[in-house]
Symmetry: C2
Subunit: 309 residues, 2 copies
């Protein structure tokens, strides 16, 4: 008897569900805006059912979920697993609970690193994408976003360490709520302004909280037009991130190999530009990294073997 | 005939008016929350009159104003003067216009530096405070705030160059609108958390957009209690600023002398702590630097001489 499973990519602002066959084929996928932050009063089961109840009725299959759904604000907290971590080690640490007699929910833990150093770092969901991208040993994976992650992946897909950069969140805060946004005109793209900002961020990376002020002064002095200022700031912030990440010791040691970019197409394009300016080569991971990561962890956890037994 | 003048410290969120005698004594002072951002439809004259009309009726005296009132969003734009700048050079570049037959308004220009470098920087109002503080040659003045300024002051109070750090604005954005604020409990102070944050910011200054994420992970890992997280983040941001400013070439060259702190008492205390951690000595400027700066510029401009003629 073949039995599929349901893959849930359940982040802060979105929920994406994919029905995967026992052979690892994608049978169907759906998404909803019911991210973790949109779920009121812990009504996670209801959110899940409203998207997937027919799949459950048809298949009574297990579910594997990753992302903020396993955070303290999520459905059930899935405690962090310390780096170095592999699909196998995480598969042994799933947080599993029954939704019914026949249906079990498995939440993939997030990863933690930095114990004993100056600061901890954490990720939830990106580990699954990295494993789905199935990169060569000693690769740096970059996952641009609200909280960008730079991860160093070793042998056997071991995530050795990683660092978070609050690039996307800073961009959002500074443009939506801050003084920098007041001179800006949104909606256009300006590649030249983006590159100029990126070069400034790369050159002056050790002056981060100073150099972002350039997105005001370049506007005041008419060096960058209002419609170019959003991209100018975006360039500065990504430049700061890329140069900072490049200077981290472990990350720099693998810098001769191409970096693997995992994420949204337009964001990856921005990072490609800045990585090139900084002297990094890059390649893109294929689409569907999250589902492939779920398949990999489900296999390691014996969920797919059990399903096809 | 003795004639006083009115000193206006008119910033983004506050307006402070001081009546100064021709001998330079403070006769009275008042303030209102009618900062530049609170004035609707260019009603600056009305805002001014509602605070000072009796003084004008009694004295018909000139007015000297500094701060954002001279910005593009202010009453009349007072074009920037380039560094190096002195009270004398600025006194020659006042933007003056009549409010009536007998009353003239003089707006002090802001300063600009960085022409020909990677970025311009600007200040409006802080130049007046620096001149009011009347520091020794080759002193670094630090003016903590929403947009902190670090200025290098040479002979004859010449402001040679300066740099802005968006420390206060970042703190506000990250705590009020960002994910870091979600784990925080506000209202308490936690000196230990502040010092720990400052040390992290000082140590890891070249990783600014990464290290601020510690204000999330330290909360998640229960290293800092929720009530300590605001001060932890404040420490990180001030630590980043102090270390960055210290590394700027011209600023570092004067680092053996005490830094002069100009500003709000509680903010200056925070900076004293972090400056000490970073190996800087500091002293405080006396109260009333803005009014003393206005007196100095009024004297250079001949406004006080004319008044006492």
């Amino acid at each position: 008897m073949n039995q599929p499973f349901i893959s849930l990519d359940w982040g802060t602002s979105n929920l994406r569900a994919t029905l995967v066959s026992a052979q690892g084929w994608i049978v169907g996928s759906r998404s909803a805006e019911g991210g973790v932050m949109a779920v009121k009063d812990g009504q996670f089961l209801q959110s899940f059912n409203s998207l997937c109840s027919d799949w459950i009725a048809d298949h009574s299959c297990p579910i594997i979920a990753s992302g903020m759904i396993g955070s303290r604000q999520g459905w059930v907290e899935a405690p962090y697993v310390d780096c170095p971590a592999t699909p196998a080690s995480v598969a042994r640490s799933l947080t599993s609970f029954p939704l019914s007699d026949r249906v079990t929910m498995h939440i993939i833990p997030g990863l933690r690193c930095g114990a004993g150093t100056r600061m901890y770092d954490v990720m939830r969901g990106e580990e699954t994408q990295i494993w789905g991208a199935d990169v060569d040993p000693d690769t740096i994976c970059v996952l641009p976003g609200t909280h960008s992650k730079w991860a160093l992946v070793g042998e056997q897909s071991r995530i050795r360490k990683f660092a978070t950069y609050m690039t996307g969140e800073l961009y959002g805060l500074l443009t939506k709520h801050g003084i920098l946004g007041r001179l800006m005109q949104f909606g256009a793209s300006d590649h030249e302004a983006f590159v100029a900002g990126a070069q400034l961020g790369l050159d002056d990376q050790s002056q981060a909280t100073h150099v972002i002020f350039a997105a005001r002064t370049a506007g005041l002095m008419d060096e960058v037009p209002p419609a170019g200022l959003p991209d100018y700031l975006s360039g500065i912030l990504i430049g700061l991130e890329v140069k900072s990440a490049r200077e981290r010791e472990r990350i720099a040691s693998a810098a001769e190999k191409p970096v693997t970019l995992i994420g949204d197409d337009s964001l990856c394009q921005r990072y490609e530009t800045v990585l090139r300016l900084a002297g990094f080569q890059s390649v893109r991971a294929g689409e569907g990294a999250t589902v492939r990561g779920h398949i990999r962890i489900a296999t390691e956890a014996g969920i797919m073997e059990r399903a096809s037994a």
